[in-house]
Symmetry: C2
Subunit: 207 residues, 2 copies
DNA sequence: TAGATTGTTAATCGATTAACAATC
DNA sequence: TAGATTGTTAATCGATTAACAATC
């Protein structure tokens, strides 16, 4: 089953969740884990976890479970974060700063290597050892640093223009925090991190 | 179809997306919109949009479409954001500050009315006209201000403890930004806003 | 060997999409 | 009236879960 199968988005979204918990286990020197254990901790069905992993290979041992460190290695390979991935961020506001500082935490190979802002007053400021650059420099810097993923933390009104610049510069995927649906060519992947929508949908479940 | 039906989570998550775009239309004085138009702008199937809305009532007119302002009103009612919902936030770090400042933007009736932090140095600071309070005051303040939703922006190690405090104080729903699965009683709704996971799953789609 | 747990198939469940009568 | 678009049913598609042979 390792070969050409289209893996559903739902599966891909669970992999980082598995990875994070496995990292915790590894830190605690737990060497083996079963789909049972994982399911309990992550509120997921064990069969689902086994099936998710089986899309990519046979990582477990019958009767035993999964070797924690081996599974970590495999999931990192699947997610392509076994090598450092250079990331750029546009929008040095509060949220942008928060993400840059978070950077240290995500030692999981996603590294913010450049920060841009349109506002003159922000340019030159330092955020977490990175100097904020002007938008004019976006394309050359992205190409020089081989940035593959772009993060958008600008107001909604500017998000589409930033996305366009990312695409023109050759960015392959975008994480958009602006509360608007941005349009990009189909070969560019966009995820929306939309906490106002998240908050509003929570309200629905109030009694 | 208006009566007792369990509405799927996927449907509820789309409502804020509809709402946001409808608000834009309203600002531009567009009075009517079809499921066709909506689908095109939001990258969704028109049939799905009609079906989503039909779960809650007959809001459209055959041959015409939906009245923008009427639909806005209805969706706000469905999401229960037709009245102000008091929200509390714990964790006055970069991300917490970002969300508090965002507050102004979400005039959509989700109002952050209290901010807490465990760190002594943060207590007393002002963020967007709110004084940061100590964790000791969490329970009484939440009850006094009738806070219904809690936001967690503390490090992963502290998230579960904060969730517990929220639950004990009577909070009904939680938006968790900490990269960990928190456990709460089944009557409390939790959404996870997890951008490290989001970023990692993006990497999968790189070539 | 007996017990545990995987990988995988089959069964179930749920969500999306197509199609169309009703009707503005 | 003719054209457009809803609300809704039926068809399709896809994802989750159960079950179990294989095997450590």
């Amino acid at each position: 089953m390792t070969k050409t199968m289209k893996i559903s988005e739902a599966v891909v979204r669970r992999l980082p969740i598995y990875l994070r918990f496995l990292n915790e286990l590894s830190k605690k020197n737990v060497t083996t884990v079963s789909s049972q254990d994982l399911g309990q901790k992550l509120d997921l069905n064990p069969a689902q976890i086994r099936k998710d992993l089986a899309y990519f290979g046979e990582f477990g041992k019958k009767g035993i479970g999964y070797d924690v460190d081996y599974l970590i290695e495999k999931i990192r390979q699947i997610l392509k974060i076994d090598k450092v991935i250079p990331v750029a961020l546009v929008g040095a506001g509060n949220l942008g700063r928060a993400l840059c500082n978070y950077n240290a935490y995500l030692k999981d190979n996603m590294k913010i290597v450049a920060v841009f802002d349109a506002q003159g007053t922000k340019i030159g400021e330092s955020i977490n050892n990175l100097k904020v650059k002007s938008m004019d420099e976006l394309c050359p810097i992205i190409q020089e640093l081989k940035v593959r993923i772009g993060i958008i933390t600008v107001p909604a009104a500017e998000a589409q223009a930033v996305a366009n610049q990312f695409v023109e510069s050759g960015v392959e995927a975008i994480l958009n925090f602006a509360p608007i649906i941005i349009k990009v060519p189909s070969e560019v992947r966009v995820h929306h991190a939309d906490f106002t929508a998240e908050l509003q949908s929570l309200a629905y479940y109030l009694d």
